[in-house]
Subunit: 389 residues, 2 copies
């Protein structure tokens, strides 16, 4: 196990009707806030009305900024920063999924910074302060509701970059599983895949002696594998949504990477695909992960065997460990199929014409490697993409 | 799943040599602190010297208060409160196990309170503020290093009472597994049992639809069952101690009771035993738990079967679920024996002469019930104690 520091101060407020207390929780931080959201669903469903009613009851004034899109844009972040400054706002309440929360986090850092917030994403500056923020989660997937991360896209040049900072841990996150009832099935499937991917990126590590967190990761994977089909079969199944939602937060709140170094190559590769093609993150991950696994299997066969046996209930064939591991990958692919997702590039309308280009971009022209479990150069990424054809 | 709120802001600083940064972490809160500890081990081992060197390097002045004993005493808490006030101390650094940390928490609440700190333990007052505190853990067992709880004994009348408050979450806890190398084997065994007990108190619940946290609890139990024999066999096994120590914190940091109502009857019953006899908490729990389980088994046989199969690897006999569950209890008893602990009252030098008295005290003369999984009255507790004879 590696030495580590772990802290997560986000207060989780979980359960039925909890969004109706948003005002009370917000008022502890500021009486003048930015109310940030994305989709029309938030408005049409009546969710925003319930939240503004709660804010008004608590005497909290709010300035609205909607319009966050998937892969949240820097231009909207700039708009939010300007609103915070012009109106002297002291808190940001994000209502949405990962994109809205990530946008809010970037605004929070930018609003109290004299320079350009994009400099944080370019590693030209390190955030020293941020406005406090809170979230009301509508899509269990990205885990941003209790994480240190934000990923923003700069439209000028299509750069997608991340910042990690303890300063942007939300002060609170309100999780009501009922809000997930109306998610489209495709989005639910992509959310389940994203959560599973967060767990697998952490699971496949070269750090030795990480048995305890291995077990926690396996427990969380098994939960998502159990609950995703249930909420797809019955979108009003509160109890299964509750298990799904809570595990999505735990999957990415930094607890499950304590003492170990995760991989994250599959996320990097997927970002190249969705940078060129219009692909939902989770759908892209369902394609990349099986290919990445087939390529990296022999790096640490024991780890893949443990994963296959414990997570996918494959019977261990001690005389054929590789077959045992491959059976795990097959079951993962079958799971993605059962969610309605494909596991090959053609399933997400990506042909083989630009694979070299993606491999090159992903490694900055073969000047850097990607991932930690196996260090992947341009050629390796090209081969992984070929395995996904 | 029940609605819940969960927050845990304690920063965990984990790994080799981390106690040497105690000064730097402390200086963020105050330059004048109370240094609180218990056993002579802390002094003799050189640990205290390393810590005071680090404090001095960071420009932190300290007032020492040693002498914390197991079942920490109110009189020492009063002493600590007086020191904090007389010297205008702004932080408490606790170096020790659960007793020292609990004592520090009580001092932290009392130092900023005009009335008598014991009133918090009698529910006559609710803490509104506390000095910040940090810990350097020497014994993985009680979980107090990242919990909201403190248990203090008032020597006048031998009252043992608890307070829970978010205000006494440590600001940081330094966990270096190397510090556990020199623990006596008996204390290691009792620590493992205490951790397992914290997990089982949470596991045995009547709350439905708690599958995710069930799995996390099972994962943590399996880890302790795997690691305890290893550190007993080789007390210098850093890697196994690391898994042991980290899981001991997670077992009791409130994450694993999210959305469910725990039981805690076994803890209450054990407190009555150790209130009369000189019994170490963990050794008492190894006696009470098997008896409690035999008594409560039929409350929810499925839950016991799940526990036996998943935690103790019992093969499920679908035609004989009760036999499956009982096999789990048998394996737990065998585990305690393998740690060198007994599972009957006679093994901890308790005879059957005062069982009725303990059952009566535990229920305040049969005016209240104990536990949540099964509500136990005086007669029930007496029967459980009989099962432990």
């Amino acid at each position: 196990m590696e030495n580590f520091e772990y802290v997560n101060p986000t207060r989780i407020i979980f359960g039925r009707g909890t969004e109706n207390n948003a005002g009370e929780h917000t008022a502890r931080y500021s009486k003048k806030i930015l109310l940030h959201y994305g989709s029309q669903f938030v408005k049409k469903s009546g969710l925003l009305d319930r939240i503004t009613a709660s804010l008004e009851k608590a005497g909290v004034e709010y300035v609205e900024l909607g319009g966050v899109k998937p892969n949240p844009r820097l231009s909207l972040v700039y708009e939010g920063i300007k609103l915070c400054r012009d109106h002297d706002l002291g808190f940001i309440l994000a209502v949405g999924g990962g994109s809205t929360i990530d946008s809010a986090k970037a605004i929070a850092m930018g609003a109290v910074f004299d320079g350009d917030v994009w400099d944080f994403f370019l590693n030209k500056a390190v955030p020293q302060d941020a406005l406090p923020l809170g979230t009301i989660l509508t899509i269990p997937a990205a885990g941003s509701e209790a994480s240190t991360g934000t990923v923003i896209t700069n439209e000028e040049g299509d750069f997608k970059r991340a910042v990690n900072s303890e300063l942007i841990y939300p002060r609170f996150s309100i999780l009501n599983p009922e809000i997930a009832f109306s998610l489209p099935k495709f989005q639910t499937a992509c959310g389940a895949t994203d959560i599973l991917a967060h767990l697998m990126e952490r699971y496949f590590t070269n750090t030795a002696n990480v048995a305890f967190v291995d077990r926690l990761l396996e427990a969380t994977m098994k939960n998502i594998i159990q609950m995703a089909p249930k909420v797809l079969a019955d979108p009003n199944d509160y109890d299964s949504w509750a298990e799904f939602m809570w595990s999505g937060t735990i999957a990415h709140n930094n607890l499950l990477n304590t003492g170990r170094i995760g991989d994250w190559a599959s996320h990097d590769i997927e970002h190249e695909i969705s940078g060129i093609y219009d692909v939902t993150h989770g759908a892209g991950l369902a394609v990349v992960f099986p290919a990445w696994m087939k390529y990296t299997l022999r790096q640490d066969l024991n780890r893949f065997v443990q994963w296959a046996v414990r997570v996918w209930n494959v019977e261990l064939d001690v005389f054929a460990p590789e077959a045992t591991a491959r059976e795990g990958i097959k079951r993962m692919e079958a799971f993605f199929h059962s969610l309605g997702l494909g596991t090959r590039l053609k399933d997400i309308d990506v042909d083989d014409s630009r694979l070299q280009e993606m491999a090159e971009k992903c490694t900055d022209g073969n000047t850097r490697t990607v991932g930690n479990f196996v260090l992947l150069d341009q050629k390796a990424i090209y081969e992984i993409l070929l395995l996904a054809v």
